[in-house]
Symmetry: D2
Subunit: 396 residues, 4 copies
């Protein structure tokens, strides 16, 4: 008998017309044909929400005025029809309330980063997830790149030896001047109420921090930070550097900037071991360099040779057909869909092969932001990397 | 009143499980969320067609045993439900019969390249399209790259001056050895009955030729060719070089190879004018080099600065978020969908802004293949580029 | 009347057979045919000194047993025959005593970096030079690159606007393991008695610091440092990062490493202004990137277009004939020779056009090393960049 | 007893003030400190010859009015004083007469390329050398690069398997317009009387041809050519492409251009075997790519890992200290000096390790030029590569 299989059903909060990241999330969701958008609360403005939904081929009754309405109405729909997960693509201050309500009403959640507006919220989200049987994913996009998975694999399998140094950099130039502040993307990021206590570290430093830990397999243990508001009149940081000590004693440097004029989206990672080292740049994402002192550097390319399983399953085309940012993003969606599908079927998903950043990364990311801001304000050099929030009882 | 808008409905011929290019077409179609797959005849094996359709979330009754059945059954469905266009992703020998039947039954056609198995068929397809009001598109993928459109724009607006030289190269290494012939992709391409009279020129030379003409705005006028079957036992070419004279007197060189061991999908184009020149490589597709003798070379990047309208509308993300092959492919789908939507609405589509390679490119591509094979067999050096087929009355 | 012109006559201290940097200095001196080697004390071992001199085509009587002997004997030779300047290519601890004696006996000095073994010595050298009419040059090699001069010119002429950020990195991997310590180059650098209080910062950090100040035109004002002895058993640093505040308030980051396994001699500089930014890498030394947020990045190439006078005079070949490290080094020699020739002729040399790093750079370099080591040992974050030595009365 | 060793003594013909290639030759000769310039006939204008020599620190009596005078006068000098070899850096038409007279008077000859103005002259030069015991070297500069020697080694030792394809390209843009013709360099190259029957193929095509044969170890056997005078009013070619068949059946393509606007000195070589392939670009001369279909591409770098002896001895600095064009040039001088020194000492020089292009390359280079010009004029496609000159009895 032929049983028609169904796509995974997604509802979206935020991402109305004109929003950048919402459109990116939709492409990432659609690309592999495994997920369909079934509803949305695309804007705090109900009319714009409807217009946005219509342009996305949704029926009127599933274009909601608010996320609360969406969650409540979808909950009442027949199971085979209602959304299965909520993707949150709003400014940061709404990440937690939306995620909380969705989880409490039985929906899985995929959230844009940073996870919440504060470490406190992240810790509360963690507590919440411990009580509910819902999946939670965080779109730390850059972990979705195949060769990032290969780099992680090389390190995990000892190819680099002991890690002694990690250098990660994320530099952009789009906030280099006062004039750049008028765009929708810029204005909320520079507003502490919507963005949290950091702009640069919260927006991109958190990606760099996540990538460094994800690939190296190490945790940050201590840090020294210097963040700056370069452009006059800003209260939040637009640039900064963090010196790091990792759990195994390795040293690290994390550079982040939004005023690196002329830099596009320049995320680079280098991890040095005592046997070999790796180097990767997001702008040339299909190449991973594996270096040693005594042999020719290997240019590992997506699609060429014997890559690890997680890298292989994260590619869609043969070598030389460049995949990029949207495909990396889609890999997170694809893996999240696989996890939902497994859960629906009562099966165990291979979360190594189909990994999605989750609540641990969410908490560590928010801790990174708060630790950096506090360390930067201090004239003491080194500070332990703390997972405790001042205003929360939550502990790991 | 809220009228729910609908996606463009696509039926697919070919592209069953295990096929490479079918999966690529689906990603390209899905990526922007404007097109839905509603039916398919995915394989000449009915059972595999059904399995493939099921895995693509289709209902059983729209997984057809053959393209003939698909076209006949879909035709009878209510207009708002039936497919609007057929995408053809079979081996070459089926391109024409499928396209012909689809057009005659009122469906638009988007075809993988090369358009047909012979110039004769391409000319007959052209005659057919003159009699029917259907849209025809050809997925010459590389024209979908934003910076290829920018290069074309720079040339069309005179930035390069008079074009004096065009060098285009497309080198791959995947057919470098006897052992490489066993894959599904290799076996039909090396079989004249399914592939036509050329393997290398028919599969990738035709892309290079199209790109050279598309960007330069020039037509090939004369050629001298040398094609080779490098690997023992092959009857079709796996390597070749073509010397060119263009309509304006410019010289050109086209290199194509499937035995360039270690080359991935190395498509490169350089166009030299008497004022400036441009250089582009598919492997670094987000960069276009604009060169002169007296000023610093400009590194034009996708998303940076003032690009032409056609380039801008072909990008989805800001600078530094690399888009690649799948997005270029999706641009052809997106533009084809816009053309269908305009036609449905009785509106005029801006075919410059939303361009899709069509029947002219189809004919020129097939003429390129046949001219090259004939010229290579001759010990006369130069041959006019002819659009006449020996076995056809069709003329341009 | 024809007066035969004469080359500038050089005596060398250090650089006997097997030494790396001595051979490099000789190539740099010889390359332009303006300087001849007339004598040397190539080794503390008299026999090796003679063997080395013989292999360099010197007569026996000008191969000296010690630098003291060389200075005393050369002083007695007829003026038109005796050496005019001494180049010092010994380990660091001898730089000052050799320079001191040479200056006191009326010879100009060109010294390898770092200038001395301590800031104290550098300040004493400065005092000495104020009392003698001798030229002093320091081979901060990387300032000799044409495009470094062009970058400096662009900044000095305001093309970048106000400088807001400087990132400089110098990473090597040649000391990544215990086994690497046995080479002649490694052993003295890791020995505090010959090298001074720092290995990594003293050997390469000082180059990075110099380059950052040379190009940006800014002085370091405050710093925060973290240096590390990565490989077990080392007493001196082999890796480190320095956070910087420059005199105008700009922030900076300086990374240096000798344990960055697989990195060759990876010196990179980026300077960000509020209008434009520049980027340069020593490994691709003939390219300078000039970036902005709104226009295509300019790839400025050695030999192409309208470069500044200092850059132009630092090149010997047309565009596309790569010059590199030895030519950059030779530029310092060539400029030093021009300064000597001008002095001999009683003329004023254009020290902007024919610049040679001198005693100011020498003092700042030694101050950099000592400030970094002290700051790293402190758990206070920020330290003023001090030009005072604890053991010296010298002030700037 | 200490015997002072002596540098090899060089006399120069051509290369007076303002000449490009003469200055390059002198740098190449001086760089390693093994060769000294002792005399010259730098210009056909005696006064300019003297001025040039004076600026090069020569005494008046060794600045000659003509090459004839130089050869005759030097011959009479005491053996330990007189020049040992003549370097010829004149326009092409003088290469043969100078070389002939020098050889006949007992001097070794190092000549700029192309060897002569015609194949006939090259064959006569070969006959002459068979009768005299003088060394003859030809500065096919690009064979001096260390990684070119490594590429050659990899092929000679079978690492690439059987060679199936060679692509070599040499593109420059400096003659792209009428205005570019006024420079000294341009004017003689475009004048058949000084340059010979080809400009582009004679000046740079001959380098590309030499490099292809040198690295691949194969000889050209047949060719098809298309050369062009792109800029109006030129009689000699400024652009061209040559299709090749090599002695083992491998195919090849040689592209050369002086009107490739914006290209600097873009010499690139790719050799494809049936096991692996190599790729090298002169603009990034310290990198050699070794590619396969199944493994990561190896980035072989000058100074890293286990290179062949000929490559190692052609480098002066450790990895990451870029050497370039002048050092490659100096390698030819250095090897030529070693050959002279061995000959003087009655020893056998290892001409594999210290190789210098010689008379065989001279003849093949002139044959290449003449074969290409003749083949281009014919409308027959393929022509055998002939070593016979129409006007000469010489045979190989």
């Amino acid at each position: 008998m032929f049983i028609t299989m169904k796509k995974i059903r997604m509802g979206m909060v935020g991402g109305g017309q004109g929003a950048f990241i919402g459109a990116v999330h939709r492409i990432a969701a659609f690309l592999d044909g495994e997920i369909e958008l079934v509803c949305g609360a695309f804007s705090s403005n109900p009319q714009r929400s409807i217009e946005s939904g219509k342009a996305l081929y949704l029926p009127e009754h599933r274009c909601y005025d608010s996320y609360q309405e969406m969650i409540l109405c979808e909950e009442k729909l027949p199971e085979e029809m209602r959304m299965e997960f909520v993707v949150i693509v709003t400014p940061n201050h709404l990440h937690f309330p939306v995620a909380k309500m969705a989880i409490e009403h039985g929906f899985h959640v995929l959230s844009d980063k940073p996870a919440t507006i504060s470490l406190d919220e992240a810790l509360r989200l963690k507590q919440l997830l411990e009580k509910h049987d819902q999946l939670y994913g965080l779109t730390q996009t850059y972990t979705g790149y195949p060769l990032i998975k290969q780099a992680r694999h090389l390190i995990a399998t000892g190819e680099l030896g002991n890690i002694v140094k990690v250098v990660v950099e994320y530099s952009q130039g789009w906030l280099a001047s006062k004039e750049d502040e008028t765009s929708k993307q810029a204005s909320w990021r520079l507003d502490e109420k919507q963005s949290g206590i950091s702009c640069c570290m919260g927006d991109i430093g958190v990606h760099a921090a996540n990538l460094a830990e994800y690939v190296s397999g190490l945790n940050m243990a201590e840090l020294c930070a210097d963040i700056t508001s370069t452009v006059a009149g800003r209260t939040l940081d637009d640039d900064g550097t963090v010196l790091l000590k990792f759990s195994n004693g390795a040293k690290g440097v994390l550079l982040a900037s939004q005023v690196a004029l002329g830099d596009e989206n320049n995320l680079k990672l280098r991890v040095y071991g005592d046997r070999k080292s790796v180097e990767w740049s997001q702008l040339e994402s299909n190449t991973l360099w594996l270096k040693s002192n005594t042999e020719a550097t290997q240019m590992i390319r997506a699609g060429v040779g014997d890559l690890c399983a997680a890298a292989k399953q994260a590619m869609r085309t043969p070598a030389g057909h460049p995949e990029g940012y949207l495909e990396a993003f889609a890999n997170i969606y694809s893996n999240f869909a696989k996890q939902i599908r497994a859960k629906n079927a009562g099966e165990v998903c291979d979360n190594q092969l189909f990994d999605v950043p989750g609540i641990e990364q969410a908490v560590r990311g928010m801790a990174f932001i708060e630790n950096v801001v506090q360390a930067s304000a201090s004239n003491e050099k080194w500070h332990p990397f703390s997972l405790k929030s001042d205003s929360n009882m939550g502990e790991e």
